[in-house]
Symmetry: D2
Subunit: 347 residues, 4 copies
């Protein structure tokens, strides 16, 4: 073959990649523990994929961070496509836990002590990913603890990510720019239902009316939560009322062609949370099965941290909460034709 | 074709099977909700598989319930094979949640009210399965509540199952029959380590010694739990100390050919719990995504019950707990040759 | 509970459903073969899901069969959503083969002879599904053979399906209605490249130019195939040249918001073919592993039929073939703004 | 933290690992193609896992290559465990194709030309793996072709692997050592059926009798194939008649405790072939979907090679073929008690 041609082995830097596994137990003076090789390679595989996920998430943020997205370009489809890939990767990462589970507790104990205090808890790429998705420092379980085992260069990377715009941040801003309710001409023929409220767009007093009638007796409490956001305009978490309204509107009328991509974007956020939560759940079970009440290499009982992170680290939970405010498809307020015909978000 | 030949359509009773879907919303006076068909068929598919799982679990119980299992027959392999199939089915049932997730909340709300108070909580086959596996009535979350929505014939079926021998019961009995420690001739050349304890088999005082040395400083508390079971002989849950000792011994020496099937049996129990727990977890998330804080057809907020059942309904948790008492493979006490050569459980 | 309330057990017709399993080997005079229960239940589960898939495919055909689909309604999104569900179900059906594989050849042989000549080959729902998707009679492997083992009522159902409009038929018609190239005003500012061809829309002579330049030396043959369809206007299989042009245009400009749903529709067809082919492949391997060179209950060596069907029964292969006519994203002819601003297919 | 402590980032060599991605299209003068990063990382992930699979396969070969395996040690269980892990990894590698499928043909074309002639066909680790499992040079599709695109150092690695003992080789030797038929005392009470054959162990003439009666009319040809191996003693492929007999015996009496691990070993070989074949199948479909009839970076139409390799590169096909020689479980010749009681292969 030609000497200057691209060669698989070099292109993928296999020389370097396949010489990056140096089990502690294989070093002189120790007893080789066969399974330490697996331990290294599975973690390396995770880190490679974390790099790819970060690459996709950053690309998605860059697109959404433009002052306005022109809906006459493929910009939004690109964002949805990037996040779809993230979800596909996360599903494989969940599956990959099956491989870790082929390591028995006794085989793990054979090299555990050699690794202290290194642990998966030191994966700065994973913490960076959480930050870039939108997990703020003050919602982390254990706050300072989460960087306590890292060295300064890795802490800096995470802190840097926390200061940059997150996916959640740019999605919120993008939702706020949605002009569904602004052009009064679009709404002239809208059929109002129920009581109107001063200073409130007629759509929302109508929808409150429909929502209220859709609630079963035992669900009446939901109305207060609804009012807080959609009538009073409260911010929930990192989601402004304006963004909440746009998001709920998108969820309700997702069937309209121009709302399909926006809906997929929101749905992808929920799917990312679900896959990350499934990963945390299976990881927690795997750790429990591996070490029981013994402690991991990081010096803590992994299960407790993982359980707490599982419950607390839902990043897009405000979007998930909007589900409670949906109603029957058959009871949806009809949109006026003028709006339907102009259902573009950037016209 | 011959008239008396078996015919696929009749053999599978497809006439009957494919005419068992009668959506409420399709009935006169209602508005047909397309997704109700899916709702029916997925539940029917679950119930078909629950029947198959019960068929396998009952077959496994029957084998183990024999006064003694002859290890010179394929009996134990049959049990392991049956439970392997149960696990394979459970994995598909977990995957099947993906199908349910294609139903959006708004499509569900379109027929939810027509179904009250029917709900998956009335699946008497699932509750029967929990009972046959070994979940006792008094460990159920919500106790009486769990049958409150059922009619008497279905309650009777569950109560009957609770009175019969469960898989956990017969496994405990089978473990108690294991004769590893009974033939003193087998143990004559065993090298004792550490302090011996009167009336305690030398293996266990030795293993306590090894276990104690294997514990990190932060794990010292584990020794008390170890002593309770393996030295003092306490029963934990439905697992007697004798059975716990046999089970831990099997887990420690699983590599020996005759201990391989017993180990697979124990491992299958853990895998069943893990798959059922994964199912509960994904089911809970799916319900949450479907109805949020609204209530299900059964009249309750499904998520709370499901969360509680998730945490509480681990059936084989005493086996899972044994993991905490394992040590490094390289530090295992060597078994005497006389025992190794006779490592049959029925000699 | 109230007597007239909907009750899970009745709603799902469990009485009937769970009493539809009557293994031949359990009948008097035969030796019960434990695994025949599994054999029945897995086939019943497949048939339940085939019913659901047919329900979804028929619903999708009904929408697309309307004289025109109004893009200002959720109609197209409904079609995409229905087909997405079909794909999700097919993935579970592929996974379900894992369950069948827990049946060993020896356990199958224990009841095989009792079932003759019944076989999965008699699944009239599956053949109906192939027909409704668009597999024409004259492209079936074995033609008459494929109904030779069925009784008249089931043959009638399949023949009826073959006469009705298939999904492929209505998609072809829907693509032909796409007005991308008809409004000359939209194309006034289009920058033509390469030689123009009389009576040919400037877009296609331009794209031929780009495509030709994109081909590597070894790919020059592709140009003839391209010319046949896009320049000469040949029909390929059941796909007219007009529909082929619309489909390729959609694949090329999928990023534009209004082309996103049409692209997803085409992509779903390919995904359905891929899942059905994966199912056939795994099914074939499973049969081979189960019976080797012995014959199945249907009297034939299942593997040969399955292999032939695998190669021949791709229903949407003309869409798959369009992939060969794509070019680099960066080399795409730019669309004129007038078109972009009106990229609706029903204006 | 302590300076000399093990640190996650260093232990996993993340500095090096995460700096091994240098997309050609990102280099000066080229237009960055976003998806090339994915292309690199997924191939790197595959190569990492190939390293791990080779590590496990080599470890399994080392154990089986011992002159005799003592069945009173965990040796065989270790082999089974290693191969189980290989299967689990292969399943994830199959799943990983989902990630590759998120790359569209147009995105691939954007950097394809920059990579020539590098291609996955140059994965020397994969070819080494095929060789170590047991694929001989002269059964490769395309023979010389398979190394034609490699440089000498990588060719040497593969050639070296072809000269070493493969998994198939050591399994064949291990099966030949099985002493089931050698101790005449074990067989004294065996009930012979059918005609006996001079110089043939009575078990095999009996089993031929049972097998012959188990065949349906259309299966009579199978008897010749049976006679060739089990009566005449022909070698098939790399499997000697002696090994074939031991393997079939293990498959028939797998339920006996001491035959369970040997059966699992054989079954794992079949499972490895099935997963590799599923990988090839999905990979082929993916390539077809990506490039259609255009050519890959390696200069060939990938699909043809992949299809041929799919059909030809079954490594353990002689084991798969044994399935054709099984009979109903209920018709199995009963083993004499003396044998059952001594069913150890190394006593």
């Amino acid at each position: 073959m030609k000497e200057n041609a691209v060669y698989y082995n070099d292109y993928l830097q296999l020389q370097q990649l396949l010489n990056s596994q140096h089990p502690e137990s294989f070093k002189e003076g120790n007893t080789p523990a066969h399974d330490e090789m697996l331990f290294i390679i599975i973690h390396q595989s995770y880190e490679l994929w974390f790099k790819q996920i970060l690459f996709e998430v950053n690309a998605a943020i860059d697109v959404l961070n433009q002052p306005s997205i022109n809906d006459n370009t493929p910009a939004l489809q690109t964002v949805v496509h990037r996040l779809n890939r993230v979800i596909t990767i996360l599903k494989v990462l969940v599956h990959q836990i099956d491989i870790m589970e082929t390591m028995t507790p006794m085989d793990f104990l054979d090299f555990r002590d050699l690794l202290r205090p290194a642990s998966g808890f030191q994966s700065w790429q994973f913490k960076t990913l959480e930050a870039k998705l939108g997990l703020p420092y003050n919602e982390r379980y254990g706050k300072e603890y989460y960087t306590s085992q890292l060295k300064q260069p890795e802490i800096d990377i995470i802190k840097q990510a926390e200061e940059e715009k997150s996916l959640l941040y740019v999605v919120n801003k993008w939702l706020e720019r949605m002009p569904y309710f602004e052009n009064t001409a679009h709404w002239e023929e809208f059929v109002h239902q129920g009581e109107s409220t001063p200073d409130l767009h007629p759509y929302w007093s109508t929808y409150r009316h429909c929502y209220s009638h859709s609630l079963a007796e035992a669900e009446r409490n939901n109305l207060q939560a609804f009012n807080n956001i959609f009538i009073q305009g409260q911010t929930t978490g990192q989601l402004s009322a304006k963004a909440s309204r746009a998001a709920l509107f998108i969820m309700l009328y997702r069937g309209y062609p121009l709302l399909h991509l926006p809906f997929e974007l929101i749905n992808n956020l929920l799917e990312i949370d679900e896959q990350m939560s499934t990963w945390r759940y299976r990881h927690m079970n795997m750790v429990h099965r591996m070490i029981g009440t013994r402690i991991g290499t990081g010096g803590s009982s992994g299960k407790d941290y993982l359980r707490a992170a599982l419950d607390k680290h839902y990043i897009f939970k405000e979007f998930a909460a909007l589900t409670s405010f949906l109603i029957e498809r058959s009871k949806l307020p009809a949109l006026p034709n003028a709006l339907i015909n102009n259902l573009g978000f950037n016209i």
